[in-house]
């Protein structure tokens, strides 16, 4: 029997003044599934995720999280979702431990879970370091740790590795791969790094100009590329970037 999707998006539209950010997106995510929403800057990724997070209201269409809409279920849904926004700054002069304790208190979670999380994100040595003194990678790990405090059923990460160096990026990936192995948390990850999507996710949604261009498993999507005329790829491995170029004529990081 097919399990109920944790997230279901049905024909969602969203506009800002004259810009149509999201134009009729349908999406279904199963429990434990890691989904990458891939697209260039301005594709509508963040708007879509913000609507799923309940921060933005769609102009039309429906969004169900764990079978519930945001209206009337906000408290329950906030407890089952963990998220990390693009470029969040925490309180500069709180240390790592204090920041975790602060956010844990919002979920009525005690010190025990904070200890687990600080180990998971490998910031034990930085426990007493002020947030302002952390490196970009350490801050992003802290943001990820905060998103994981409540053992979320759904984890939403908005470009979690943008601006990080390759090592810091791999550290984030390692934490997420461990999570994938050990829990049934579903992940929605927005990124414009195809390598990140390939490494972490088993289902890819490629969007551009507010529409889904293509979605499927990595092998399925890369299989499709053989049917599309692209530049010669025989000399190297075919990537999602090739697929994106074939669909839009542009690179993902354009």
């Amino acid at each position: 029997m097919k399990s109920q999707p944790v997230i279901e998006v049905r024909d969602v539209h969203k506009s800002f003044k004259t810009v149509q950010a999201v134009r009729g997106i349908d999406l279904s995510i199963s429990p434990g599934q890691f989904v990458a929403i891939l697209g260039p800057n301005g594709a509508g990724k963040t708007t879509l995720v913000e609507m799923i997070e309940g921060i933005q209201q769609p102009d039309s269409g429906d969004i169900f999280i764990m079978g519930k809409t945001w209206k009337g279920n906000e408290k329950y849904l906030r407890n089952v979702i963990g998220l990390s926004l693009q470029e969040t700054h925490f309180i500069d002069k709180l240390n790592v431990w204090e920041t975790l304790r602060l956010f844990a208190s919002f979920f009525e979670i005690g010190k025990g879970r904070c200890e687990e999380v600080i180990r998971l994100i490998a910031l034990e040595e930085k426990r007493k370091a002020w947030v302002v003194n952390l490196s970009g990678g350490q801050r992003q790990r802290l943001a990820l740790g905060i998103a994981l405090l409540n053992n979320p059923k759904i984890l939403m990460l908005d470009e979690p590795t943008t601006g990080l160096d390759p090592n810091a990026r791999r550290e984030i990936w390692a934490i997420l791969l461990k999570l994938k192995e050990q829990s049934d948390t579903s992940l929605i990850l927005t990124t414009h790094y195809m390598e990140e999507a390939e490494q972490l996710c088993d289902y890819i949604v490629i969007i551009d100009q507010g529409k889904i261009l293509k979605q499927g498993t990595i092998s399925g999507l890369l299989g499709d590329i053989r049917d599309i005329p692209v530049r010669p790829v025989e000399t190297r491995k075919i990537t999602l970037d090739d697929l994106f170029i074939s669909l839009t004529g542009r690179h993902l990081d354009d």
Binding site: E53, G54, I55, K75, R78, N79, I81, L83, L85, E87, T88, H89, F90, I91, D92, K93, L94, E98, R101, L102, F103, A104, S105, F106, F107, E108, I109, G110, W130, I146, N150
Partner: protein, 381 residues
């Protein structure tokens, strides 16, 4: 119990705000040390008697020479009789000094320089001289800018002295009774104003700016994406600010009491209630002005646009009765004016609840109205 309390989101939010506050050295300086320094500086400047040195150019004759001239002048006779001292200035030129001692109003030392008219005019233009004096046929002539209060004062003092022939200078002014009793000094006027201003600035920057900055950094949005109660966030922010304001005002009062013997003449309970009402008013206004913008530049402008006029007009440093009559009823309705006047009436005039009930009510209502209006349009994202 303690574990449960330490896991409470309100307690954690309050702790976070306290830690953020005390870890910022600027907050301690501007919030606590600066008002004390200001009260010290202004209190000393306007409360203690001041010894004055006034420079006078004497032109036209050598009245300052070691020996009196053949035909003694009015000034020469005066200096001779009163045994004015002979000294040299930094250029080695002869000067004569005469001090009128006064333990109540402060001593005045007259320094007489013998100068040519042109040189005297140059020094007068540079502000190095207060007055130029010359004498013709036994008639003293005083040259000074009538718009310059220092020059006027010098003229009044000197002309009085020179009209008294002989050693008639009195050691004391028995007829002058300077008002130095508690409640009538400038410092008594200043400290309540500084306390009220401290509350306003602290709420404006500590609440408004903190909210706008958190919104601009997306921290507000991140926090409300959790089950955090939104009211807890605001309650924690305001509570910490009010506590900080109590500490600031308490330290300022303690300092003023030790340094200037300032006391509270009226009802202390009424003062506390008024203080809380004032905090409430400014916290409400702070929530209102920070309710929408996510730009710290806009926030800066809004805070300054609101607080600067009140700082200037509300009689923090000097009485607002110096402003035109038509503006006074308007000024009196500003929250800062109400708070400063209320604190003054309790501290200086011995007022109690009966006299301060109206400002307390208006300040509290101002807080409620602005808070509710702010919450109506508040942007959490």
């Amino acid at each position: 119990m303690i574990e449960r309390l330490s896991n409470s989101q309100l307690v954690q939010l309050i702790l976070a705000n306290v830690k953020e506050l005390i870890r910022e050295p600027g907050v301690l300086f501007w919030g606590i040390i600066f008002p004390i320094l200001m009260s010290l500086g202004l209190g000393v400047a306007f409360t203690k008697k001041k010894d004055v040195v006034t420079n006078i150019a004497v032109v036209g004759q050598n009245t300052l020479a070691n020996q009196p001239s053949v035909a003694p002048s009015v000034l020469g006779s005066f200096l001779l009789i009163n045994k004015a001292s002979f000294e040299k200035d930094e250029k080695g030129l002869a000067i004569r000094k005469f001090t009128v001692p006064d333990d109540k109003l402060g001593s005045t030392t007259f320094v007489f320089h013998s100068l040519a008219w042109k040189e005297a005019m140059e020094l007068l233009k540079r502000g190095n001289l207060n007055l130029v004096l010359d004498e013709k046929s036994g008639l003293l002539r005083y040259h000074f800018d009538p718009m310059n209060p220092d020059a006027q004062l010098t003229y009044l003092k000197l002309s009085k002295l020179l009209n008294i022939h002989g050693p008639a200078v009195k050691e004391t002014n028995a007829e002058i009774q300077p008002l130095t009793v508690s409640g009538t000094r400038y410092i008594d006027f200043l400290v309540p104003g500084l306390i009220a201003m401290g509350v306003m600035m602290s709420c404006m920057w500590g609440v408004s700016y903190a909210i706008i900055e958190r919104r601009s950094k997306k921290l507000l949005r991140r926090m409300v994406a959790t089950p955090m109660k939104r009211s807890n966030f605001l309650v924690a922010l305001i509570t910490v600010r009010v506590l900080m304001n109590f500490v600031e005002a308490g330290l300022l009062f303690l300092f003023s009491w030790l340094a200037f013997n300032i006391t509270i003449q009226g009802n202390v309970a009424a003062l506390l209630v008024l203080f809380i009402a004032g905090n409430f008013a400014f916290a409400g206004i702070a929530i209102f002005i920070s309710s929408h913008t996510a730009k710290t530049e806009v926030g800066n402008g809004l805070i300054n646009a609101l607080s600067m006029p009140m700082m200037v007009l509300s009689g923090v440093f000097f009485s607002y009765h110096n402003f035109p009559g038509w503006s006074i009823p308007v000024i009196q309705k500003f929250p800062l004016t109400m708070m400063a006047d209320g604190i003054r009436s309790i501290m200086i005039e011995g007022a109690g609840f009966a006299e301060t009930a109206l400002p307390i009510t208006i300040l509290a209502l101002t807080g409620v109205i602005f808070f509710l209006a702010g919450m109506k349009i508040f942007r959490w994202h």
